[in-house]
């Protein structure tokens, strides 16, 4: 339609913001049916009317510019285009045309940019109430994301198309208000839409939790899944307590030299497992008394599965730091490098070598 084409051109020219405050006023006028509301409408409506007759975008723009914020009844511009005769009739026809215009407009999603510029119209906050009774055809309004002012309700739009896309909770974190699109065949009540958005949020998070907690995939139902989650959290907390008790039990025994033990551990592991590999250390064997323990420690370290091989590289640094005075400073770097190799080492390699050494 040339109408929509003209709109497209205009919106493109103005810098199409998809904000249709003109629609607001339209609905206000349409709902009440008051002529005052119609007259309040910016002359853009008149311009739309004009586009019925005059498809040239430049002239329409000029008309709009000329009209400006004039809220006077449309007769002058109408006269200028010779489209309509009397104001009253013009208003009526305007209104009739507007609806169809708006319908077309919405269909193609082109909103004239001038509606924003000429929005001296008091665009009230309760915009876009879907009033299915207003038009016979299903209105397709646009779902825009411009957060203008404070909207008390969600923007609900019924999409008459066959697409079942539903956008919910977009920009949830930035905007306090959610723009929701109702699916086909669902209630468009503001409450139900709000509830639906809320439910979808919660369901998304529950899905993530289900993935996190093992064994929750098969379970159906929120309550049971929550049960599992609670059990999991409780078991994790209990495990932490058990481990802390173990650490507390272990700790006093290593009072004397936690650092050297850790250091020696790592070194021993390195020694034992990587005889064949690159790093041959000249370990001064100050801690010879624990030499036998090295192999045992190796064994113990191999037992835990791979995921538990902890990158205790952070351990080495403070340990080595304290050992500097013991004359291991020169081996600082080499030891750390070797500890890396330790971590790198395959589990399969270790047991064999341990067996050899034992």
């Amino acid at each position: 339609m040339d109408l929509t084409g003209a709109f497209g051109a205009r919106s493109a020219a103005v810098g199409a913001c998809r904000e249709p405050p003109g629609l607001e006023s339209l609905h206000l006028g349409g709902g009440d049916g008051g002529f005052t509301a119609l007259l309040e409408l910016p002359p853009t409506q008149a311009v739309e009317l004009l586009h019925f007759t005059d498809p040239s975008p430049s002239s329409s723009q000029a008309a709009v510019a000329g009209i400006g914020l004039d809220v006077s009844p449309p007769p002058p511009p109408l006269h200028a285009y010779g489209a309509l005769t009397f104001p009253s009739n013009a208003a009526l026809m305007e209104r009739a045309a507007r609806f169809s215009v708006m319908a077309n407009e919405q269909q193609n999603g082109n909103v004239s940019g001038e509606t924003t510029t000429t929005s001296s119209v008091p665009s009230n906050s309760d915009r876009v109430k879907t009033e299915p009774g207003e038009t016979d055809s299903s209105q397709r309004l646009e779902n825009n994301r411009c957060g203008i002012g404070k909207r008390k309700e969600l923007d609900k739009k019924v999409k008459g198309s066959t697409k079942k896309k539903s956008k919910s909770s977009e920009e949830n974190e930035k905007l306090p208000y959610v723009h929701v699109r109702a699916r086909r065949g669902q209630a468009t009540d503001s409450h139900s839409l709000a509830e639906r958005a809320r439910r979808e949020k919660i369901n998304a998070r529950m899905k993530l939790l289900q993935e996190l907690v093992p064994g929750c995939d098969k379970i159906q139902g929120t309550a049971l899944v929550l049960d599992e989650i609670i059990n999991h959290v409780q078991s994790l907390q209990r495990q932490v307590e058990m481990l802390s008790m173990r650490l507390a039990a272990v700790n006093p025994r290593i009072d004397f030299n936690l650092d050297t033990l850790l250091a020696s551990e790592n070194c021993s592991l390195i020694d034992g497992s990587f005889n064949g590999t690159a790093m041959q250390l000249a370990w001064p064997h100050q801690v010879t008394e624990t030499e036998q323990s090295f192999h045992h420690r190796q064994l113990q370290l191999q037992q835990p599965p791979q995921p538990q091989q902890w990158p205790y590289d952070g351990l080495n640094q403070p340990a080595w730091g304290r050992e500097d005075d013991q004359g291991h400073g020169n081996e600082h770097n080499s030891l750390m490098a070797v500890s890396e190799n330790l971590m790198v080492g395959s589990a399969s390699l270790h047991p064999n070598q341990v067996k050899m050494e034992l």
């Binding site: 998304a204 993530l208 996190l212 290593i254 835990p304 990158p311 790198v344």
Partner: protein
């Protein structure tokens, strides 16, 4: 040096890889829907599985434990030391969260108020009248079963009692991921130390 660790320690992320694959699929699905919330959750989940986080936590944990040991030297009871260790571990865990989550802030905050609250809570629990569990009460309280469970979950996650449901679920997700990392760290640390300790005791004399 740290770089060489990363390819090796990908094995530690073994249990995470199928999950991460699932997550990636889910990301594409939810991209159309709740992009923001799922992104945030994915981030938080992956955060607790990275090697860097694990290393940071491990080193901090060791330092804190050393300090704890020095403070309560040979204290006699294990349980009190255990509690201290657990609190220290929790604090270190919360610290590595860098204050982005609610529970981490709550954990760090309760450090100051812990003793006070304990006394207060003891008084309160003693004075409260135990409710008789009538059938009507049970029926009344059982109706919103999911809500009750959410409340329980809120009590479990520190600092999340009066928190909205979606936030509570977010916090729970992050908390579970963090707890899992904590358990892994403490377990391997305990293994290391347990391996070290008895040998030294044996060979000492």
């Amino acid at each position: 040096m740290v770089d060489s660790l990363f390819p090796s320690i990908e094995t530690t992320v073994d249990d995470a890889s199928p999950e991460s694959r699932r997550k990636r699929r889910r990301i594409s699905e939810t991209a159309k829907e709740t992009a923001e919330s799922s992104e945030i959750n994915q981030e938080s989940l992956k955060r607790w599985r990275t090697n860097r986080v694990q290393q940071i936590y491990a080193s901090k944990l060791v330092e804190a434990l050393r300090r704890v040991r020095q403070r309560s030297n040979d204290g006699g009871k294990i349980t009190s030391a255990a509690r201290e260790i657990r609190d220290t571990a929790d604090r270190v865990l919360a610290a590595s969260a860098r204050g982005t989550t609610r529970w981490s802030r709550a954990v760090l905050a309760t450090r100051v108020r812990a003793s006070l609250k304990k006394h207060k809570k003891a008084k309160l629990t003693g004075a409260r009248k135990p409710r008789k569990d009538t059938a009507a009460e049970r029926k009344r309280s059982k109706l919103p079963a999911v809500e009750r469970k959410l409340k329980i979950l809120g009590r479990l996650v520190p600092g999340c009692r009066k928190v909205t449901v979606p936030n509570l679920l977010d916090e729970a997700t992050d908390y579970i991921a963090a707890l899992e990392m904590q358990v892994r760290a403490m377990e391997s640390l305990a293994e290391l130390l347990a391996a070290a300790a008895p040998r030294s005791m044996l060979t000492r004399p």
